[in-house]
Structure formats: C-alpha cells, structure tokens
C-alpha cells in the first residue's frame, strides 16, 4: 500500500531493533504507550518481537472507550429509552458493557441506537427525523472533540432543535498527570499519543519532562514510527536527558491545530471532575458543553440516572489501565473476561490493552511456527 509500506520495512525495523538493543544496554526500561492506537499497532504488527527483554512496554489509559465508566453507558441507555429518542454513537461504543448491558443489548430490548461514522452524520439523522429527538453520545479525547464541536456549531447555525450531545469527551493531559501522581509509579518514559497530538500539539506534554523528569516522544502509528520513538526515548535515557520530542512531525505540529482548539473552546469547557474507569475521579479531565450551547446538551434535556456502577469484583482493568498489571496477569483474563463476553472495558475495544493482547499477542508457544519459510508461489 502506497504511503504505508514505507513504514513497515523489515530491513529498517531490524536496523532500529539493533539500535534499541544497544541503547538499552544492561538497564531495565519501562515505557508506557499512552494511546490505545499504539497498543493495537504494537500487537498487530508484532513489534514486541523486535524488542529486547529489558525494554518493557506497558499500556496506558489512552483508549477512550476503555475509560468510560459503566454508569455513563447506563446514562446513555436511559436516554435511548426516553420516548422518541434516536441515540447515535461511534461503533467503538456499541459493545461496551454498562451496569445493565451494552448498546447492542439495549437495541435488542427495543432501543433505537444507531452507529454513525461522524457526529455530522448524527446531525443528518436529526434533519431526516424532525419528529424524533436525536442524541449523539460523543466519545474520545481531543482527537474527536473538534468534530463534536463543529457539529454543535453547525446545529446552532442551522437552528436544528431536535439534536443534542451527551459529551463523554476526556482530556489526555490530566490522565497522564494522574498516572504520574499514582503511588508506586515507576515508569521510565512515555510514547506520546499521535492522533490526539495533531489537535493539542506536542507542546501539551511539556509538563511531563519539566515537572516529572520523564522523557516523552510523540510517535506515529506505523511500526517503524514506534520503533524509532522507542530508540529516541532510550537515547535520551542514555544521555541523561528528559525532553518532549516529536517523532510524528509529518502529522503533529508542535503547537497543535489552532482552529480545532478554538472550536472546542467555543463550545465546551472542562468539568470540575469526571469519573474514569480504572483511575477514578480526575479533576478537570473531561469536557461538557458550555452554557451558551445548553440547547444542544443532552445532560440538560434528560434526567440521567447518574449512578456509579462498581466495576466487577474480579475485574482488574484499573491495574491494567495504569500499567501496574499486564493483561495476562489479570486473574479473569481470557477465562471469565473474553472479547465475546467482556466484563472489563479493556477487553471491549480493539484498542483496549486486554483485547489487543488477547487477539494478537497470545503467541508464546507459536513463534517457531514461522521458522519454516513459505516458498514464494
């Protein structure tokens, strides 16, 4: 595939792997990839095969679906069962279990929850169904927030009065702060998220190096991006530096996307606190619609149950999301909790650490299988 194959070359990967092994030396390096997109890419491409044992990757909280608390899913489902409501959302959210099942389960009980590919499509649904109340359950970090913001602005400009947004937008900075503040945290550096940084810019992470002395390299999602970013992190470690650098310059501007940030700022404001699955309440970590756009705020149109749902007793998503446990170290991984029947959100999204590991990584015994080369046809 053009523009992609260049970033998947095994020859260059071998070169980077040798560089990583050398830079890693004898020490142990615990690196957190914050973003679920990286987790997915790491397993999907088999990147761990290129890393020495003393370079350890741990998975962070950067999968927006994984950090949605179950109570928030229940809130959305409660809205969906209000008379005349069509709830719309991204496919990512359809299978996430709430306290009383997922959106797919709700549909089987008679709710009308539809998958859309963009919030603007949700607005189309509202235009086509003037006698229904159309709600968009928004999800995502600052990556998808600008699209939600643009949709609210469009709805306001067109005077559409049957459309509203249930905002579950979260902010990546406060989540990293919470990880850094967690007791017993022993991370040596971070792979910085790629997509979200196209909006907020690499400069948004400067506090990580400045206040906490940890290096962070914003990385792209192709395998060579990830390997190069790891090499850059290790080089900083070797040289005793802790800086924020940008490996993903082909997409990420240092200062971010001003127009996108303006759209977010015009329509949304930080919430004083928001519950994250696994991390608990984090101050100023999520976005709600501003008062000026109250007309498009589902939280003001509907009464939400707002119940906190305790995680399943055996679920250790919290430990996995904060990098304290590897997916396979969770007691219910792959037995009670599987992609078919997830009890924790890390198992739901393909970007969740547990699902990524379950789908792609369970290959401890299988590496030799490829020793016998397949003759070219």
């Amino acid at each position: 595939m053009r523009f992609v194959d260049e970033y998947r070359s095994p020859d260059i990967a071998r070169g980077l792997a040798a560089e990583i092994a050398e830079l890693a030396g004898d020490g142990h390096h615990k690196i957190m990839e914050i973003c679920g997109g990286h987790t997915h890419a790491i397993y999907r491409h088999g990147i761990p095969d290129y890393l020495p044992d003393n370079v350890e990757l741990v998975h962070g909280p950067g999968c927006p679906v994984c950090v949605v608390p179950a109570g928030r899913i229940d809130d959305a489902i409660a809205i969906a069962f209000e008379p005349g409501v069509i709830l719309t959302t991204f496919g990512d959210l359809m299978r996430v279990p709430g306290g009383q099942g997922s959106f797919l389960d709700a549909n089987s009980r008679g709710a009308d929850i539809r998958m859309v590919y963009s919030p603007l499509d949700a607005l189309k649904v509202a235009r086509r169904n003037p006698d229904r109340r159309v709600v968009f359950a928004a999800i995502g970090f600052e990556t998808t927030a600008p699209a939600t913001a643009a949709t609210v602005l469009r709805a306001a400009a067109e005077g559409i009065d049957n459309f509203s947004v249930l905002s579950n937008h979260v902010l990546v900075g406060p989540a990293i702060q919470a990880i850094l503040d967690a007791p017993g945290q022993d991370l040596d550096g971070f792979l910085g998220p790629g997509h979200v940084s196209t909006v907020i810019g690499a400069s948004a992470y400067e506090f990580v190096a400045r206040d906490h002395g940890k290096p962070l390299v914003v990385s792209g999602f192709e395998p060579l991006d990830v390997l190069q970013a790891i090499a850059w992190l290790l080089r900083q470690r070797q040289e005793g530096r802790a800086e924020v650098t940008n490996q993903y310059t082909r997409v990420v501007p240092w200062e971010g996307n001003r127009a996108a940030l303006r759209a977010i700022d015009a329509t949304m404001e930080p919430r004083a606190t928001f519950e994250w699955r696994g991390l608990g309440e984090i101050p100023w970590s999520a976005l709600a619609l501003r008062e000026e756009y109250a007309a498009f705020d589902a939280e003001r149109h509907f009464t939400l149950p707002g119940r906190r749902v305790a995680d399943h007793r055996a679920c250790q998503c919290a430990e996995v999301l904060t990098g304290r446990l590897k997916p396979w170290q969770c007691a219910v991984f792959g037995t009670v909790c599987t992609p078919e029947n997830p009890i924790g959100t890390c198992m739901v999204s393909s970007e969740g650490a547990c699902a990524a590991y379950y789908h792609y990584g369970r290959l401890q015994l299988g590496r030799d299988a490829h020793a016998a080369p397949v003759p070219s046809p």
């Binding site: 088999g46 990147i47 496919g91 990512d92 998808t144 078919e340 792609y360 990584g361 299988g366 016998a372």
Partner: protein, 373 residues
C-alpha cells in the same frame, strides 16, 4: 348476481360483440390461459395470499426467468432423477443491505452462496430451491431485476432452480427482500474433504483477492463517503473446484470464506484438525482499495467477507500443481499460497507480519465494528 347495474346495458354489449355465448366463454378461457403479467408496481399482501395474484407473480417473474421442466410442472415439489451415490445438501439464507451493489445483487448471492457450499464438498451443484420473503411495497421492477440476476447466476453455475416459495410480510416487517436457497449436489468423485484432514506440512492457498465483497457492501451503503473502484467477488466456485480435484489428489479441504472471512475459516480448520496455521502477511492477495479502506476503518481484511473465494488446504507436494490449476481459470487468476499448516500452537492461526513480527489471527467476536475514536 342479484342486481343489474343501472340501465341493464349488459345484454346490449353482448349483442354488440356479435359473439355467441360459447364464443365469448372460449375467449375468456383463452384469456385465462394466457401467461399472466404482473401489472402492479409494488408487492402487495395479495401477492403472498396464494390466490391469483400469487400465481401471476410466480408465473410472470419466477417461471419466466427460471424456466425448467421440474419447475414448470407446478407441483408442490420437484421430482428429480439421481444416480445412486452420495448427495450433498445445504441451505443458506440471504439478507443484505443494499440489495443491489457493484458486481451483483442478492439474486447472485443466493445462487452462488449455496452453489459454493455444495462445491467445496467436491460435489457438482445440481438443483436448488429458492424461497422469497418480500416486504409489502417492494418495487416489482426491482424484484424482477433480482430474479433475473438469480436466473443468470443459476445458468452460469449450471444449476436448476426446481422449486420455490413466495411469502409477503407487512410493511415494516421485513427488509425488502430476503431469499433462502437450499441445494443438492451430486458427488461424482470419490473424494472426502474436510477440515479435520489438514495436517502439518500442508500448504494453505486462497483462490483470489480477499475482502472485495465485504468492503464493496460497506461502501455501497453510502454512509462512509468513501469511494473505490471495487466490485463484489460474488461468483460460483464449482469450476475451480472441478479443475483442482481433476489436477490434485492431495486436496485435504476446501472452504468458501464468507462471513468472518479467511481468518474465521482458517481458525475452524486449525481447531478441527488440531493443527496450527502459519500465514505470511506479504503473501495475502489483497487489492490496494480493500487494504486502504480497511486501514481507514480499522478493519482487518482477513475478517472481511468474500462471496466467491475459497481457502484450500492441499498436500504441500501438490501446492504448485494446485496453484496452476486454479490460475488456469479466470476466477482463480490471482490464487496464491498464503501459508502452511504447522504442528506448533495447535488450534491457533498466526501471521508473520509485513514487518517481520508475529501475531495471532484470532476468531472474531461478533460483527467487526469500525473504529473511530
């Protein structure tokens, strides 16, 4: 008749026609014998009620397109002659949105799906049934196109649709048109194929590019605002199977890779035979358009449905012969060897990535949902 209409003009008109009563009745009889035409523009509940509207629909749409002696006998069942031996028997139901898409329609799928389920057993597909469930209000012109597609696909696959059924459900109770087909195939070769026969060392082949159908359907729904020059791969596989079995004696199993794609089929094989399957990402035949759409949507082409592709497990010694036999036919032109059966990791499918790493290719949980956030 209890009452004459005003003016009692009936007699006057009869007289004006200049016919005797017998002549008039003969004319009516001739009219009734004429092949009926459906004049309605939309399917109504009457078309499923079993009366004359149903008969008209059957005559005009189904019998006209699917003409064959067994069907035209118009009995409640088809009587067919078969030689003693083994038969293959299968059924499949077809629901697809949209009903028509680049490269085919539900009519093509309904034939090819059942033909392929028969063909991969090594049988020659011979006779099919077709059951239609139509929604009130469905356009007759559209139904006619679908039936024509179905008839053309049956002709191309060399099968006869010998029995059928039509039901109509009320508006809003169906999705336009559902089709069920069942089929009978005749095993003319003494072959026994099955996933359980795969053994370490065997070669794994695929008969053509994967994922075309699934991505075509996704794009044809139109809500992605993505466009690609792609067509569904819906096609009958019976000729490929025939050529393959003619050329090779070491074919272990054939599976058409429909729902769940190639990955799902291979996981079934790995499980049934208690073997591992090791794939090479760089050997997978995938069109650039399919790869690109999958990349954008966060889908894996290995899980995307095909409707005219099969996975072949064959004795490695015959891998090249098998590839040559497949590539000799246009529908197998891009056949490729994609991996091997191995003893390691029984029950699992693994993939050496383009990068050179390894990963599991797992069975899928539910429908693949596009990733956005």
């Amino acid at each position: 008749m209890t009452q004459q209409p005003e003016g009692a003009e009936t007699d006057a008109k009869t007289e004006a026609s200049g016919e005797t009563e017998a002549e008039a009745l003969a004319r009516v009889a001739r009219h009734r014998e004429r092949r009926p035409r459906v004049r309605d523009e939309h399917v109504t509940l009457a078309h499923g009620a079993g009366g004359s509207a149903t008969a008209d629909l059957v005559e005009d749409l189904f019998l006209r397109s699917l003409a064959n002696p067994a069907l035209e006998a118009r009995e409640d069942q088809a009587l067919i002659d078969v030689d003693p031996g083994r038969l293959a028997f299968t059924t499949d139901s077809f629901v697809v949105s949209p009903l028509e898409f680049p490269g085919g329609s539900i009519g093509d799928l309904a034939i090819n799906g059942t033909v392929n389920d028969l063909a991969v057993s090594g049988a020659r597909p011979a006779y099919l049934s077709a059951g239609f469930i139509l929604e009130e209000g469905f356009a007759i012109a559209r139904l006619r196109r679908i039936v024509d597609d179905l008839a053309a696909a049956a002709a191309a696959a060399g099968v006869q649709v010998v029995t059928g059924d039509t039901k109509v459900v009320g508006r809003g109770k169906g999705d336009g048109c559902y089709i069920n087909t069942a089929g009978i195939g005749v095993l003319e070769r003494p072959v026994e194929l099955g996933a359980r026969f795969a053994r370490p060392g065997d070669a794994v082949l695929v008969s053509g590019p994967i994922g075309d159908h699934g991505i075509t359907i996704l794009l044809a729904r139109g809500d992605l605002e993505l466009e690609a020059d792609l067509e569904s791969d819906t096609a009958p596989l019976h000729r490929l199977v025939d050529g393959l079995l003619e050329a090779c004696s070491g074919v272990r199993c054939l599976r058409d890779a429909t729902r769940g794609g190639v990955a799902t089929v291979l996981n079934e094989v790995a499980e049934a035979a208690g073997v591992g399957i090791a794939l090479e990402e760089t050997a997978l035949p995938i069109r650039a358009e399919v790869n690109g759409a999958c990349e954008v949507l966060g889908l894996d082409p290995l899980y995307v449905a095909c409707e005219g592709r099969m996975v072949i497990v064959v004795d490695a010694a015959e891998a090249d012969t098998a590839l040559a036999a497949l590539r000799a036919l246009p529908e197998g032109e891009q056949a490729a060897r994609i991996g091997s059966v191995v003893a390691e990791s029984p029950g699992m499918v693994s993939l050496r990535t383009q990068l050179g790493g390894t990963r599991v290719v797992d069975t899928m949980a539910g429908d693949p949902l596009p990733r956005i956030c």
